[in-house]
């Protein structure tokens, strides 16, 4: 993968708005954002209602995903262009998730909704009318998803990247500062994890930094190219952003997203936890 095969610009999206085989998909944390205005032709995926199981603490099954995408009028050979608010966190999460279920043509709109809005480009409240399809998902690609046992075994062995803010990494905050600081889990990070906040990979307008800047960022952080890498955050969407950078833009081979992330790890009994700004020891 590379920047050219994974990212599209706002200009490219504008030039291709009328192509029926290119489907814009908005995924937001603020699930009302789409309804107040979205890129013409875009369909909405609700990251919570549509993409989470609702009973089990997991995202939806292959069968539910097939029903969802069929109802949204998305076909297997469509090119899906994801975008959303919060610098594409949830759009990157949905991209990762569709990759997990084997969709071939996936793109992310560089800069997401913020860049589109800051450019004062067109938004509409008209909802796209796409006839239903029969979507078939592939079997899950487990090479891009990490579970907790693998994460514990990776301590001191693989590259662990904690992409939360430095204050969350150190245990001074339990959640990003736009939500109340109330959570069941304890604060801190997985020992030996390096802290490379997702935001270091993005410019202020939400677009990704250049390949050279991104390579330097992870090299300076001590990422060992010879090792497999697992990224995590709090609930797995910011780490999807970093997974996207490492796997889809820079083309690293073995990069997994630990979507259980700190809400799971920080609630486990008996696992090692490090506090403070340093990675800590295995």
């Amino acid at each position: 993968m590379s920047r050219e095969s994974a990212l599209v610009t706002a200009d490219w999206v504008e030039a291709n708005l009328n192509d029926p085989k290119i489907v814009l998909v908005e995924v937001d944390e603020d699930v009302e954002a789409y309804d107040k205005g979205h890129i013409p032709g875009a369909v909405k995926l609700d990251w919570k209602k549509d993409l989470q199981d609702g009973v089990r603490h997991d995202f939806v099954s292959k069968e539910k995903l097939e029903a969802l995408l069929s109802s949204k009028g998305i076909a297997n050979d469509d090119t899906l262009v994801f975008y959303g608010g919060n610098n594409n966190w949830f759009a990157a999460y949905a991209y990762w998730y569709l990759k997990y279920y084997g969709h071939d043509n996936l793109r992310l709109l560089d800069g997401g909704r913020k860049k589109w809005e800051l450019d004062s480009r067109e938004l509409t409240t008209d909802v796209a009318d796409r006839p239903a399809t029969t979507y078939t998902a592939k079997d899950a690609d487990t090479s891009i998803r990490a579970y907790r046992d693998e994460v514990i075994e990776a301590i001191g062995v693989k590259n662990l990247i904690d992409v939360r803010s430095p204050d969350e990494f150190a245990g001074r905050l339990l959640a990003p500062a736009h939500v109340p600081q109330e959570a069941a889990q304890i604060g801190g990070h997985i020992p030996t994890a390096g802290n490379v906040p997702w935001s270091k990979a993005a410019n202020d307008d939400g677009t990704f930094k250049s390949d050279d800047e991104l390579k330097a960022l992870y090299a300076d952080a001590g990422l060992d190219d010879a090792k497999d890498t697992i990224a995590y955050c709090r609930i797995g969407e910011r780490s999807s952003h970093t997974w996207f950078v490492l796997k889809e833009i820079l083309g690293h081979d073995n990069v997994k997203n630990y979507d259980g992330s700190w809400t799971e790890y920080g609630s486990l009994r008996g696992v090692p936890v490090a506090l403070g700004d340093e990675p800590g020891v295995a």
Partner: protein
């Protein structure tokens, strides 16, 4: 959830005594700016959170005690920085003009 809610989340049901709230309104020529983005930077200048403003230009963060910087981006404006100090149990109000 990790997500941003326009204008920041509601204070309803939140025990503000245990929170270090930073909130305010973004205006241009005295009028609220509803399509701005406010980001919260920590004492080292690192990104900590970001919210889009509400239709009435409002934003809110739940920070920790200490010194923070608000960086506001709005269409057709250069970004604006405002320093703010937060403390637990206190709501710090910031007026941002772009």
């Amino acid at each position: 959830m990790c997500g941003a809610i326009k204008g920041g989340p509601s204070l309803e049901g939140v025990d503000v005594q245990n929170q270090a709230v930073i909130q305010g309104v973004v205006t241009r020529d005295g009028q609220p700016v509803g399509n701005a983005y406010v980001r919260l930077l920590d004492r080292t200048g690192e990104f900590t959170a970001e919210v889009p403003t509400s239709a009435t230009g409002q934003f809110r963060f739940f920070a920790g005690p200490g010194d923070w910087t608000l960086r506001t981006l709005a269409p057709k404006s250069v970004s604006v920085d405002n320093a703010v100090t937060a403390a637990t149990g206190v709501v710090a109000e910031v007026a941002v003009a772009v």
